[in-house]
């Protein structure tokens, strides 16, 4: 009826007197041409249905593994439809190729796919969340014990690792923390100065900056940057070690992976985050100062306002918060690393999960702090 010259394989379909469909394939049925005729051939075969199908391959010049797969697919489809199937004129070498693919291996009857309902999905997600929370709590507990032990026996601590991590997570973060802090202060001052100008209250921009940076934005920004830079790195490092069986090797050497890998990282983060938070504060206030200059206030006014508006409580509260953020971010990074499954993909998943859980936890804990500080009158 029609041909497909382009692909190198031509198919002709006709009906023989007994009502069977006759498909004759000519030319080359190879990995290039099989793609072009695959669907058409199966459709023609389907049209034959139960009336039976005969494939005439006597004019087939060449057939490779792809062509053989096509013939087998045709046979399988025909068998499922309950119709007869017969190939004639197939050269012996091609016949051998088809036989290597057929008989089809006994297919394991797959369990009927279970479609998850809406409520079942919610239930499952809740259970997963609860078990994840539980794991995190157990891990934090274990970590606390290990940290306590490390502080009681500081000689057992791996100082080399601690300094290395502190350098990477801390000193390495100084440029970005300074930049983000400075821009944050500048933008915040600029955005709040405009509406305040209408009331002639630009001077209070200094109060706003001082309080929001010291109490909230400094620690928060430092912690988020730590999550992005180092939480992810912890998860990826430890995750790769897990995949390479290095974590197993530690365990069978009698070294606790938690104390060996997580403790130095968490301690380093605890030291580093408050410093980074302070740096964000300073950089942010410097940004605000620059904005203030353009509003024609002398620098000394700005400094006096900031000092008057903020208290030691704001400063110490902010630092304490960043201390807690540091523990949580580092702990989550290490936990996700240790939870890594198998393969490269799993490392990617743990890294993503470390950042996402880190940021969610920061937001959550920050909320708790807001309430607690309010209740305590800080």
């Amino acid at each position: 009826m029609s041909g497909n010259e382009q692909s190198g394989a031509r198919i002709e379909s006709s009906r023989d007197p007994s009502g069977q469909t006759l498909l004759s394939i000519r030319g080359r049925l190879d990995s290039t041409s099989a793609a072009g005729v695959w669907r058409r051939l199966l459709e023609l075969g389907r049209a034959a249905g139960a009336s039976g199908l005969v494939v005439d391959a006597s004019a087939l010049e060449y057939c490779d593994g792809a062509g053989a797969s096509l013939l087998v697919a045709l046979e399988r489809q025909q068998r499922e439809a309950g119709g007869g199937f017969h190939v004639r004129g197939l050269r012996e070498e091609f016949q051998k190729l088809v036989e290597m693919i057929e008989p089809a291996p006994a297919r394991v009857e797959a369990a009927p796919e279970h479609r998850e309902g809406f409520f079942e999905g919610i239930g499952r997600a809740t259970l997963r969340l609860l078990s994840d929370t539980r794991t995190l709590m157990v891990f934090v507990g274990e970590l606390t014990v290990m940290l306590g032990r490390a502080l009681r026996h500081p000689r057992q601590l791996r100082f080399k690792d601690l300094f290395l991590v502190a350098e990477r997570a801390g000193i390495g973060a100084i440029p970005i923390v300074t930049l983000v802090g400075f821009l944050l202060g500048l933008i915040l001052a600029f955005q709040s100065a405009i509406p305040m100008q209408r009331f002639g209250a630009q001077i209070f921009v200094a109060d706003l900056l001082g309080i929001s940076l010291l109490r909230e934005l400094g620690p928060l920004m430092a912690a988020i940057l730590l999550t992005a830079r180092s939480g992810s790195a912890f998860a990826a490092e430890i995750g790769t070690m897990k995949v390479n069986e290095e974590v197993d090797a530690l365990t069978t050497m009698g070294l606790e992976p938690v104390s060996f890998l997580a403790v130095p990282r968490v301690l380093a983060a605890v030291v580093v985050v408050p410093v980074l938070a302070m740096l964000t504060n300073v950089a942010g206030l410097a940004g605000g100062a620059l904005m203030f200059q353009t509003l024609d206030f002398p620098l000394v006014t700005y400094v006096n306002r900031v000092v008057a508006a903020t208290s030691l409580g704001d400063f110490v509260g902010g630092l304490f918060k960043s201390f807690v953020f540091g523990i949580v971010v580092a702990a989550v990074g290490c936990l996700r690393g240790l939870q890594t499954g198998k393969g490269a993909e799993a490392v990617g998943e743990s890294t993503t999960s470390a950042v996402v859980s880190g940021i969610v936890l920061i937001a959550f804990i920050d909320g708790i702090f807001a309430v607690v500080f309010y209740a305590m009158g800080i």
């Binding site: 790769t240 070690m241 390479n244 069986e245 290095e246 090797a249 365990t251 069978t252 050497m253 009698g254």
Partner: protein, 260 residues
């Protein structure tokens, strides 16, 4: 090799979820022998090894190492048992951020009170034992697969263990490197009297090093044969085991050999 079991596996059952890997398996490893755990792909050889070194907790049963049950040990007891073992993982599992010498030194740092220079000397001697002299300052990423495995053996030997567990030592190595590794294993076994438990399915390697072999089976989820390689090849009733040692295909007969 007196009749003195150093490891006793008692009625060990392992499961992944509902999937039973092996069921109530018992065997003993004698002091000083090279003991091979064999089996087709997916029959639980590595799982067995990981239970024997206490990485996995079994569903039921015990693994006693010189009488101490490693499956239930915790804290100090567990550390004491682990100190007597060395493990070489399939990939070597060297710590990528440390040089070879630091890798071998690590167990010494954590478990002994040697002065630093003594640790260096011991670690270097272990590397010499596996013919890696001169590579002390190389990073694991910069050496070949066979060297990584040898370095991993050196690290496993650091604390003079009585038992060494090797997970597929010759996987992914060329025949010559693999033979060299076998020679290293034999040397350590004969001169230091270390007991070896090796998971492998490299036939040449088994014939060279094995004192005794057990074969795990996926279908029966247990041991289908025990003995020396020659015994299993010549006298085993189990068809699959005999075929394994004769390297026959399922259809019978050796695989076709290319003649052109």
């Amino acid at each position: 090799m007196a009749n003195d079991p150093i490891i006793r596996v008692e009625e060990l059952t392992a499961k992944y979820g509902d999937n039973v890997v092996f069921d109530r398996v018992s065997f003993e490893v004698m002091r000083g022998e090279v003991f091979i755990i064999l089996g087709g792909s997916g029959c639980g050889k590595s799982t067995m090894l990981k239970h024997m070194i206490g990485l996995y907790t079994p569903f039921a049963g015990r693994v006693r190492i010189q009488g101490d049950d490693i499956t239930r040990a915790e804290g100090e007891v567990r550390r004491r048992i682990l100190r007597r073992l060395g493990v070489m993982y399939q990939s070597g599992a060297l710590f990528g951020s440390m040089t070879l010498l630091e890798n071998v030194r690590l167990p010494l740092e954590e478990f002994t009170d040697y002065p630093p220079e003594a640790m260096d000397a011991i670690a270097a001697s272990k590397l010499r034992l596996v013919q890696l002299e001169g590579f002390e300052d190389y990073m694991p990423a910069d050496i070949s697969g066979g060297m990584k495995k040898r370095a991993a053996i050196a690290r496993a030997m650091a604390l003079e263990p009585e038992i060494l567990f090797l997970d597929e030592p010759s996987a992914g190595l060329d025949p010559i490197t693999s033979a060299e590794l076998d020679a290293t294993i034999l040397r350590l076994s004969r001169t230091l009297g270390v007991t070896f438990v090796v998971v492998t399915h490299e036939l040449p390697s088994i014939y060279t090093i094995a004192d005794r072999v057990i074969m795990l089976d996926k279908e029966t989820k247990g041991i289908i044969a025990t003995g020396t390689p020659a015994e299993l090849r010549d006298h085993c009733e189990n068809d699959w085991v005999r075929r394994f040692f004769l390297r026959e295909t399922a259809a019978g007969g050796e695989p076709e050999v290319r003649t052109t």
